[in-house]
Amino acid sequence: MSQPILFFADISNSGMLPAPAWSNLNINIPINQLVDEIVAGADVTCSLGGPVDIPTQNTLVTLAVIIDWNAIQGSGSSPLGTLQVNLNSFLFGFISELSTFDFPAPQGINIVTKSILLDTLMANYATTPTIFFGNLDNIQISLSVSQTVPGTFGGTVEFRGYSFTVPNAFITTLILQEDPLLPADESAIDGGIDANGVPIEVLSVDSSGLYVLTPGKTDDTLYTRNVAQATDDVAIPDPTIKTALLGD
């Protein structure tokens, strides 16, 4: 099971500049500052952060980059026989994955995975011993063309569902901050039991064991169960004799 972090980068610009102007155009897609107009050389970074737990073992963690993209050619002739879309994803500052798709690229979901040992991860990312924040602050998506576009490329280029699947080890966990519900004091407990860590002595009404007749002893012996070897002397329940019926 993994926890996806999803965001959508939707670039829509029907008024792109002519292709010669954006040859080798680099687009850094922001998360919260989507640009309306793609400008060459734009450099906008995004950041996603959240507390993640560090696993204690050196496990192989896999980061998956899922790209669901849809490139729609607008009006006009095709600018290129082949348009390469290079995807560079820098996750946590240490994973770089370069994927190349031909244009028109296969639409739908494309998944690129990258695995890395946890020790390597830790070595590449200075963290505190117990928790760190994985800032996705170097997400870069580069669009580049391999040659000058002869015509005008209009239409819409969309990137949707650029998501990072985080392995189990990085699942964000909830930390219960509230103190457990405890009574204000012992008097708040029904019955007013005052144990204070000491076992409560309760006289057992069904004490078990051998009943020992002790010469001269004029009471019963009740063994308590909560205290070893402790006994209590209790009255014999109303010793009674009764004569036969008289007057016959």
Partner: protein
Amino acid sequence: MGGEGILHYGAVRMRVVGSGSLQMKFQSLDETTEYSILALTMTATTDREPTRLANFKSQRASLELKTTEINEIFKIQKIIVFARAMFSSYPG
């Protein structure tokens, strides 16, 4: 009397030693009626055989003796119940 006559149980005398208070009472058949007698304060040794008066009328009666507090004991060697016939029978 054959058990049908009504007797008057007037006193109890006994030889008893012990400690504490000896509770006594007469009880009729099926314990339908009873009469409590003044308790006896017992001692470990005594030269007396105390007598307690009673006023209980019944065809048959039994005498119950008991203690109710812890460490009260009694040892009885003799019980004398004073009874006298009062009536021959209840009306038929």
